[in-house]
Amino acid sequence: MSEAAKKKYSLDEKNRIFKSEFFPHLDSMYNFAFRLTFDEDDAKDLVQDTYLKAFRFIDSFEQGTNAKAWLFRILKNSFINDFRKKSKAPTKIDYQEVETYYNSDDIDEPITPDLRVDSLQDMIGDEISNALNALDVDFRTVIILCDLEGFKYDEMAKILDIPIGTVRSRLHRARNLLKEMLSGYAKKMGY
């Protein structure tokens, strides 16, 4: 590696950057890792790996740029490279429809006219969380980055290494899938 080639920061600076810019994102990082792996130990490993890598490659971090986005990118890459194959599948839940929607051409069709705000607000937390977890990992990821973590489209594009247009269309599809699941749930509950 060219680690030694361009040593930008002194040890003190490294420690300071780590504490002030990286460490504050631990909770978000853990939440992301957990929602990717669905396993506490895997999530811990993933977060720890990410932080160790971040420290090791800290010279490639530009101060003043978005540390959180930088960390999320490392975590996402670690997940793909090291964890994706062995990560546990989400526990099977009630949303059988998901598979059919993946294979369906009219994935963008419905705006689920029957889903209402008041029925959504009556739902307790587990339904929305389960629905999110039931999404395929690529769809789940864009929802996490955008809606949970508040990343902008251009930041998401960098984290995921995909064009902004793809970020937006994937987000749109993810939301439609989420709405389908919530709508199915609302119907079942008689809203």
């Binding site: 902008k152 937006r168 709405k179």
Partner: protein, 89 residues
């Protein structure tokens, strides 16, 4: 990207593709003032978009409320700290 569908709503005020894109950008807080104003104006005349926006907004809020707020386990926090301290010598 999404395929363009003929607008099927009765109001006829809505070009679906353009609306959906606008809705998303506004929903995610990434629209400039001009686009926001345009969308607000559109919502006054387009019931499907108005409903969609409210549902999407409610889901976004619900996600934020219910799916965040997880705290990193204390032992992990300590483990990372000590590992870094060991590296940083």
């Amino acid at each position: 990207m999404e395929k363009t569908n003929e607008n099927s709503n009765a109001e006829g005020a809505c070009e679906k593709q353009k609306c959906l894109e606008m809705l998303q950008v506004v929903l995610d807080g990434q629209a400039d003032e001009k686009l926001k104003a345009e969308f607000d104006e559109h919502l006054k005349n387009c019931m499907p978009c108005f409903k969609s926006y409210n549902v999407d907004f409610a889901i976004k809020e619900l996600l934020k409320q219910k799916c965040c707020g997880q705290h990193v386990p204390q032992d992990l926090k300590e483990a990372i700290k000590s590992k870094i301290d060991n590296l940083a010598v």
